[in-house]
């Protein structure tokens, strides 16, 4: 006699299509996962550029005799702003320049000292002056300008990623709203009957909201599950820019650097969007009834 329909007096299991809404929410969830990963990836890249390059200063020492190099290192060792200073091996330097200069055995290259700053706000000009006083002709070069540009680029890309996430959220709201309105249209008479029998707006809207939430959470989970192979595929596409990635080295992918906490919230956010949107749509519709 009484069956499952007793717990679903509006027949929303049929009126609110599970396949289409779930598939659309899954697609939105996949895009959200990719957006979170992109935002996190760009953030990490920007941070690496900032730490790796902004903290680095190079000092060129013309006529790089052992004495002059040692003198420059000695001055740097006395400066509190300097965390570390190491001369670049002349052979490595020649190797780095070979693509541009070719084989030039008679060309005297300047000595290069790589300096890691302890404090990113350190006055690089002052460091350069102190070294130049001790070692005439030494030139200090900081990388602040291009690092600043790279950081601005990273911030812009990150902003685009967050804007895309916002857009995905808005589209998800629109999708749930359209599905809810379609279900309302299909169950108009049933809603009116429940209303006349004394069901409150909260009870009626709650039925739609629970259905939308369940579908959205399921769609969100599907999106997250699909995102995992998508991450692997993207990592393979990015192979030329990083470490080698093969199917055998799946475990070697930078899984730990992915924003798992953000990704785990995607189904929950989808569920919240489904619940709030359905509640709003149904309550606005019910407000027209006496």
């Amino acid at each position: 006699m009484s069956n499952r329909s007793g717990r679903d007096p509006l027949g929303l299991r049929r009126a609110m299509s599970d396949r289409l809404l779930q598939a659309l929410i899954a697609a939105m969830a996949l895009l959200a996962c990719l957006g979170f990963a992109a935002a996190r990836g760009v953030d990490a890249l920007g941070e690496r550029w900032r730490l790796g390059a902004e903290a680095a200063v190079t000092i060129q020492v013309p006529d790089p005799t052992r004495t002059r190099i040692a003198l420059a290192l000695g001055v740097l060792a006395t400066l509190p702003e300097v965390a570390d200073a190491n001369p670049v091996d002349p052979e490595r330097l020649a190797e780095l320049l070979r693509p541009w200069l070719g084989e030039q055995p008679n060309l005297t290259l300047p000595g290069v000292i790589e300096v890691q700053l302890r404090n990113l706000d350190a006055d690089v000009a002052l460091i350069g002056d102190r070294v130049a006083e001790a070692v005439p002709g030494a030139v200090t070069e900081a990388h602040g300008l291009w690092v600043g540009r790279l950081a601005a680029l990273a911030a812009a890309v990150q902003g685009v990623a967050y804007a895309a996430l916002l857009l995905v959220g808005l589209i998800a709201v629109a999708v749930v709203a359209v599905a809810t309105r379609a279900a309302l249209a299909a169950r108009q008479e049933s809603v009116a009957v429940l209303h006349q029998l004394g069901a409150t707006d909260r009870e009626i809207a709650g039925r739609f909201a629970r259905r939308a939430m369940v579908l959205a959470v399921c769609g969100g989970v599907v999106g997250v599950v699909v995102a995992v192979p998508a991450f692997f595929l993207l990592a393979r596409l990015a192979q030329p820019f990083g470490a080698e990635v093969t199917a055998e080295s799946l475990a070697g992918l930078p899984w730990g650097s992915l924003p798992w906490r953000d990704i785990a919230t995607v189904p929950l956010i989808a569920g919240a969007i489904g619940w709030v949107t359905a509640q709003s749509v149904v309550r606005v519709w019910l407000a027209r009834m006496p």
């Binding site: 007096p9 049933s190 006496p290």
Partner: protein, 231 residues
């Protein structure tokens, strides 16, 4: 609030439906005044278009009057907060002319709707719905959906849904229109029994024959006005 002991009171009530172009259309009810005492049984008679259905819908708080005052079970419909109306509606049973059974629910679940809205336990729902279906002779059709029922069975199911929660006020619009004479007598007996137990009953019909089978106070409507009271 209701000023006297009347379960339903209309004071100079006018009602018109919204016009398609905005504003109000012609008045369906015009200066209607009445008072129905607690535990009364009233026939509301009149030709089609007299305003019987609109009057019942006002009593059910499905409409608000465009002028005058309607008070039902102590709630003034015109000025009551919207959130107060569901509580009122749960105390009223309604049999619509077009029945309005939910097509995707079984007969059992249709009849159980008011009890489930009132959050009765499933055990109690099962007991009370089964008793009601037995009373109206539909116990063997409990699993059938409305489309699988005959017109008379649908009408009986709609009546069962209206009375299963033992409402304080029962409003019925042509409740025996689709049933045979024997079933009509049986349903009238059900209404009479409910009335004996204290339910205030208003039945709208254009059938003088039906009214003749159960002598009770009668209110005659024509063109939105009460033309007379009688028994």
């Amino acid at each position: 609030m209701e000023p006297s002991g009347a379960v339903v009171r209309f004071d100079e009530v006018g009602f018109s439906y919204p016009a398609p172009g905005g504003g109000h259309g012609p008045e369906i009810l015009r200066g209607m005044s009445l008072a129905l005492d607690d535990g009364s049984f009233t026939w509301l008679v009149g030709p089609s278009g007299a305003g019987k259905t609109s009057a019942l819908r006002l009593m059910h708080a499905a409409l608000r009057p465009t002028r005058g005052e309607v008070a039902v079970l102590g709630v003034t419909i015109g000025t009551a907060a919207r959130r107060a109306l569901p509580v009122l509606r749960r105390k009223i049973g309604v049999v619509h002319q077009d029945l309005r059974l939910l097509p995707h629910l079984s007969t059992f679940d249709n009849v159980a709707l008011p009890l489930r809205l009132a959050r009765r336990s499933e055990a109690r729902v099962a007991q009370e719905v089964t008793e009601m279906l037995t009373w109206i002779g539909l116990e063997h059709r409990a699993s059938a959906r409305p489309e699988e029922l005959s017109g008379g069975e649908q009408q009986r199911a709609a009546i069962a849904r209206a009375v299963v929660s033992r409402p304080a006020l029962l409003l019925a619009d042509e409740p025996t229109g689709n049933v045979d004479a024997a079933q009509a007598r049986r349903l009238l007996a059900l209404f009479a029994e409910m009335n004996r137990l204290g339910t205030t009953i208003v039945i709208a019909t254009h059938s003088e024959d039906l009214v003749g089978r159960f002598p009770a106070p009668m209110m005659r409507l024509e063109r939105g006005r009460i033309l007379g009271h009688g028994a």
